[in-house]
Amino acid sequence: MRREKAAQLILSLVTPQEIAIPTIGDLAEEASFRGSASFWPDVGRTFASQLWRDLCSCPIRLAILALSGFPLILIWSSLLLYIVILPVAGMIALLQLVGIWPVDHIGAYTIGPMMLAGTAPWTNWLFAFTTYAISPLFVGYYLAVPAAERSPRRSPTLPSSASSVFWGCWCSKRTCTW
């Protein structure tokens, strides 16, 4: 049931709740006789189709609203940086200093350099692109949704920012040598 709730949360980012709920019910029912391996791919394909459909149906409005999403993302990213990432990076650095956290583990090798030193310019560029280009699109998408449909949707700001950070960390982990 936790799986269905998570899928419902994901799908409700791109479709109203009253559609997301029966859709997940259908996919769960199909998974019961097709095999549970089909569930997440089907959720992913449904998510992609719904997102693509809305992107195609209102591209100009979406682009305009994406620009209005930019300051929101800027504020959110700043908050994320100062409230979450820097304390976490600092804590990891401290744990490494006292020898609890392995030096080669994901942590100061990724978040620390990325945020503080900027030793891998192209990954920082990717991080910035993801944060300041992709995330505003998600915000714009959210804003582009008619008001009647907006209320049951979750704001995509949080997951998109989290995915930006994850993506930045992953890229930095692969290239950073600090």
């Binding site: 559609i19 394909r45 449904t46 189709s49 459909r53």
Partner: protein, 111 residues
Amino acid sequence: MSAPSLGDFEQIVLLAILRVGENAYGVPIRAEIAACTGRDPAPGALYTTLDRLEEKAMVTSRLGDPTPQRGGRAKRFFTVTAGGLAAVTQAQRSYQRLLKGLRLLGGANAT
């Protein structure tokens, strides 16, 4: 007045809803399409098409009662409207006119 045009997959979905009848929700509609056409439609394509058909007022949907088999989630039942029926009928008649006089595999349409 001519009925609005329909895409191939929209026609398939409308016909599948008609074939399934009262119990037409996502799962049996998808199964019916797979059984009749031999191709398994992607769920995303099916649900976006159903939404589009509803926006075009060719189908209506209603939520059924939540069932424990689906984790308390209701089924969304679809019904073809008169407009949808007219559109799919017109589209099929166009196909029939195009096929008329053609000798296809099996020769069934050769007249």
